[in-house]
Symmetry: C2
Subunit: 406 residues, 2 copies
């Protein structure tokens, strides 16, 4: 037997139950579920209970599929056209919110003695606001359809896209390509080129394919073929020396425009409920809590947290012409999440980060996720709720994202 299946089943039961229960607990105390899932992973991981080994081949495969399903879901929910409608304020917040944390984070990490590549990975992990967490918190507070809410969502989508492009550049650098303007240029061109090519070519090929798939008699074909399409694009992206998650995200963007989107979303979401928590738990399990007692690690982690808070908050004030609560926008941009963790995990996998730096980034992600909800709740109590709690978001949980007033 190539793998001890009962042993694997035991690990899966522990992981699924722990992530669901701690995720639920987090939501009950007003925090997003992803925090509970991360903590479940930390608990089950090597440094505490030792049940979940993120480098076991099968767990690693489940977790990688989890992150691909997650990015596919984010892509499915992202409407590039409605993003354009949100306008220049969102673009400004998004871009400033990428550049400032990236520059400050890389600079701070470098000042504290880190070499160039790890410092760049640290900076990059600070760039992307979590669309999932921000959308869910704003919706819970009835602020999703305010102008501030729309700006935050537009900016979060933009910085996810930019973050993913940075990821594929950084991942090329981290796997040993030397840091040169030329190398960065080529990697950026490859990532942007891949997304553009995927949208243009995929946008022509996918709609007729999925129109045909609807006529398949076997129920379930549509969801499975959509997933196969996402895996295919992820495979293509990897072959094109870009990041496989870029491919999954691009697959989602392409299928967002097909009439079959809702049917596909519902199937992919169900698969995501199974696979995505395994990704977050595996990320949590890779955290070594013992390294956080090291003063140097604690110092780097503390500096990253400060930069993470300041960098996104100032981005809220960047569109000086915007009439609305810049404070609310700045605070709502703070939560990092999926993409920050993906950076950290990629850094660990390629050896660019050691486990202590990885743990410092994971803690930064958790702290930036803890802080905004109570502040946003306080800020929005002084304002009328512009929209009812979105049932779609509320029902579908934190893994399901709503973007641009869909």
């Amino acid at each position: 037997m190539p793998h001890d299946i009962p042993h694997l089943l035991g690990i899966l039961v522990a992981t699924l139950v722990a992530t669901k229960l701690l995720g639920e607990l987090a939501q009950r105390i007003g925090q997003p579920a992803v925090l509970g899932e991360l903590l479940a992973g930390v608990l089950l991981g090597a440094s505490l209970l030792g049940i979940l080994q993120p480098d076991d081949p099968v767990i690693h495969a489940f977790s990688e599929i989890g992150v691909l399903v997650l990015l596919f879901e984010i892509g499915l929910h992202t409407d590039l056209r409605s993003l354009l409608g949100v306008g220049s304020a969102a673009a400004t917040v998004g871009l400033v919110g990428v550049v400032v944390p990236f520059a400050l984070g890389t600079g701070a990490a470098h000042l504290m003695g880190l070499p160039a590549i790890p410092a760049i990975v640290c900076g990059a992990a600070l760039t992307a606001t979590s669309i999932g967490i921000s959308a869910r918190v704003l919706s819970d507070l009835g602020q999703l359809e305010t102008r501030e809410g729309q700006v935050v969502l537009g900016a979060a989508v933009l910085d996810d896209v930019v973050g993913l492009i940075i990821l594929s550049v950084v991942s090329a650098l981290a796997s040993g390509v030397s840091v040169s303007a030329m190398g960065v240029g080529i990697s950026t061109a490859a990532a942007v080129g891949f997304i553009v090519a995927a949208l243009v070519i995929g946008g022509r090929i996918a709609p007729p394919l999925f129109r045909a798939a609807v006529h398949l008699e076997a129920e379930g074909s549509l969801g499975v073929l959509a997933l196969a399409f996402a895996f295919f694009m992820a495979w293509l992206a990897a072959k094109a020396d870009s990041a496989s998650i870029i491919g999954a995200f691009a697959a989602g963007l392409v299928l967002h425009r097909t009439p079959q989107r809702e049917a596909i979303e519902s199937k992919v979401t169900t698969l995501g409920h199974f696979f995505v928590p395994i990704f977050f738990a595996a990320v949590g399990a890779a955290v070594d809590v013992r390294t956080l007692a090291d003063p140097h690690v604690a110092l780097v982690g503390g500096a990253l947290i400060v930069v993470a808070l300041v960098g996104k908050f100032v981005a809220g004030y960047a569109p000086w012409w915007f009439h609305g609560s810049k404070t609310l926008v700045g605070v709502a941009m703070i939560p990092r999440g999926e993409v920050g963790l993906i950076f950290a995990q990629m850094g660990l996998a390629t050896g660019a980060l050691d486990v202590s730096l990885f743990s410092a980034i994971a803690v930064m992600v958790m702290v930036t996720t803890f802080i905004p909800p109570p502040i946003l709740s306080h800020l929005s109590r002084r304002r009328p709720a512009a929209s009812p709690r979105l049932s779609g978001v509320a029902e579908e949980g934190i893994d399901d994202l709503v973007v641009g007033g869909e």
Copy 2:
């Protein structure tokens, strides 16, 4: 990196697309989708294209999860009480349909020179009618709610249960326990005891647990926790020296009685659409088509096919008091499927079967699945359709089973 993820993605894309397309093709020519999925596996497998390696650790894990999800689904659809209502005719057809093929198959294999254990595995692989295939074919012909249809369904459920019990006995024998009346008795008692204990204890514990799970805020919790419950029962069954699929089946039987059954079914079915074809494809991929050219293998395979056809057909005539088409019942009992393949795969994994015997059994399963649909279609053209095509079965495809007039 513990596993080459892009390589895995390529394999998954090939497997998912090939199983869906060949499954669809099979349905279009009036055959069940599972046949297409098996053939897709044979095509992708070691002896032809060499893309799908069923003993790769990750593929093996996916395929094992696939068979657990499938048995969990079958359990969820099985109503033990309505089975009792179908009465003595179904019980007689079911039991005769287990005993005759088992005795004839073991005897024939032994006569042809096989040692005791492989001969017993061959006989055991003939015992279980595929509920999925039989229910789907009868429903397509409008015969599912006739008295004949009900008898076939009741008998198929019964012989699945008996087949699973035989499986756990045979799997204990195959892993080296010596063949003694004592050993068989203990294994039978363990399997029956496990199912009874699971039903009694699980029947008390599960309903309050899943009533509580409904109140969880995070959507998707119910389906994931149900799956975790199935994995937990499978793990328990393995620890109790029974077969893990017995545990997954028992978990389904227990949850069948909860008010949350439909919600759970819908989630598990979606996961099944992804995982179950990987199981069938992996079974197909393990077939070495070259061994079928060996005259001895062809002879054993031919004998198994004859025994498989005759053994189930005579079972249809066993309830002499039954007023209805005994021919229709006998033919409808012929298709083997999931459980036969599970036997064959277990025999291969434990070393009780070599790859040529395994391939002979897989071919027997395919042939018994090919033959009945045209005959049943011919028989039922001479009879009025008693029921419209069941939309539930028709919509949900071959992996979704309807039992006892639910």
